[in-house]
Symmetry: C2
Subunit: 216 residues, 2 copies
DNA sequence: GCTCCGTCCATAACGTGGTTATGGCCACCG
DNA sequence: CGGTGGCCATAACCACGTTATGGACGGAGC
């Protein structure tokens, strides 16, 4: 194994170990010494590969966004764009629920590094986070082109993203109960409310959302 | 000054110093040693009055919720309940924007102590956070009684709270630009979308939201 | 007034966790 | 085969939360 690939390997090993620690120890468990132990090395590994815990945490957040994008990408484009949009909401929520600590970290870090996710609305290609938002704008555009929703895609996507992100944040904090109760009682109705408010007919909205609900 | 009032004084002094540190140094500046220096005492003050930084941080979060409730309480009950609801949204958002670090801490701590804000939907009288949600449920109930919105007050309030909270979270992270741009471009349209989706007529919704916009 | 008591808190130390200084190992290059 | 540079183990350093200890001070009871 060449010098270079060995280095890359250690890098990804560290990020993966970090995600593992995060998952079963919370944010407090993300420590240089624990990371080192996890990959069978000394804490110096963190510094040679990242320069410090801050940069490593940042890399972990980026990996989280990469997974979010991947999960959202699994939602295809059917002939019902509103159903697709609801599918994106469920994918967003599922990503968060499956790795709550990672999801929380992603948006905490986004705040810490100031603007890295800041100008998501301009399509900053540097930011992994921007890609997930662009996916949502594209989905919204299809609903508008199909005549289901009305309005500016960017504004509409911002509204929908706000609502979904807020729901997910509150669900992770324990509101809306455990399991999938919150989806049935809040997220699904919220999505119906949004698309109806944006121009869809109530019957069509309920039908589109109902289609996907069974595949939570 | 009696022993007891002196003690209480030190307590509130600590919380106020904490909020000050938070405001101009971020979450990282909230340190026992800095707090001690700020009130001209040793770090022991933190331990005699709170038992540790965790409990102090908790008290700071509670104070934050108390301020949120106070700000929401300034929104009166006019004869336009939808306008009042939008006023609540603006109050929520203003509270967050004026003390972003405190607002972030409030919901980070809510997660840390597990369920303290968790069962907001049952009205847990212990939690300051529950009171702010109850205020929103009450406002929603008035819109329903007035025939403007339709649905279960609890579910409707949960949807609206999710949307507003999500918008505020993302605005604090720097999306939606600086200043009040986000309010005009996302929050206001979002509120119109929500109430229309919940049964209000588009014209009435725009009128109610427009009424309040001038008093941001 | 004096003593006893409890609260509050200053000092100093400890534990943990991020970071850095140092030096050695080893692959690669001449 | 000696030099060079990346990688990293060891050990120390430093900041910060916490704790142990003892002293100061105000109030209660005599």
């Amino acid at each position: 194994m060449s010098e270079r690939t060995r280095g890359e390997h250690a890098r990804t090993q560290l990020v993966e170990a970090a995600i593992r620690l995060l998952a079963d120890g919370g944010a407090e468990a993300l420590q240089a010494r624990k990371l080192a132990a996890e990959i069978g090395a000394s804490t110096m590994a963190v510094y040679t590969h990242f320069g410090g815990m801050a940069a490593l945490t940042d890399a972990v957040a980026r990996e989280g966004f990469r997974r979010l994008i991947a999960n959202m990408a699994t939602v295809g484009q059917s002939d019902d764009p509103v159903a697709d949009l609801y599918g994106l909401a469920l994918a967003y929520r599922r990503t968060a629920v499956e790795h709550p600590e990672l999801f929380t970290l992603m948006f905490r870090e986004a705040g810490a590094r100031g603007q890295a996710v800041g100008d998501l609305m301009k399509d900053n290609p540097d930011s992994e986070a921007a890609a997930s938002f662009r996916g949502m704008v594209a989905a919204v555009s299809r609903t508008i082109e199909a005549g289901r929703l009305k309005g500016d895609p960017l504004s509409v996507a911002s509204q929908i993203w706000s609502a979904i992100h807020g729901y997910v944040t509150l669900e992770l904090l324990g509101h809306f109960g455990r399991g999938d109760r919150g989806v049935a009682e809040v997220l699904s109705p919220l999505c119906v409310t949004l698309v109806v408010g944006l121009g869809d007919s109530p019957a069509a909205a309920r039908a589109s959302v109902g289609l996907v609900t069974t595949t939570v």
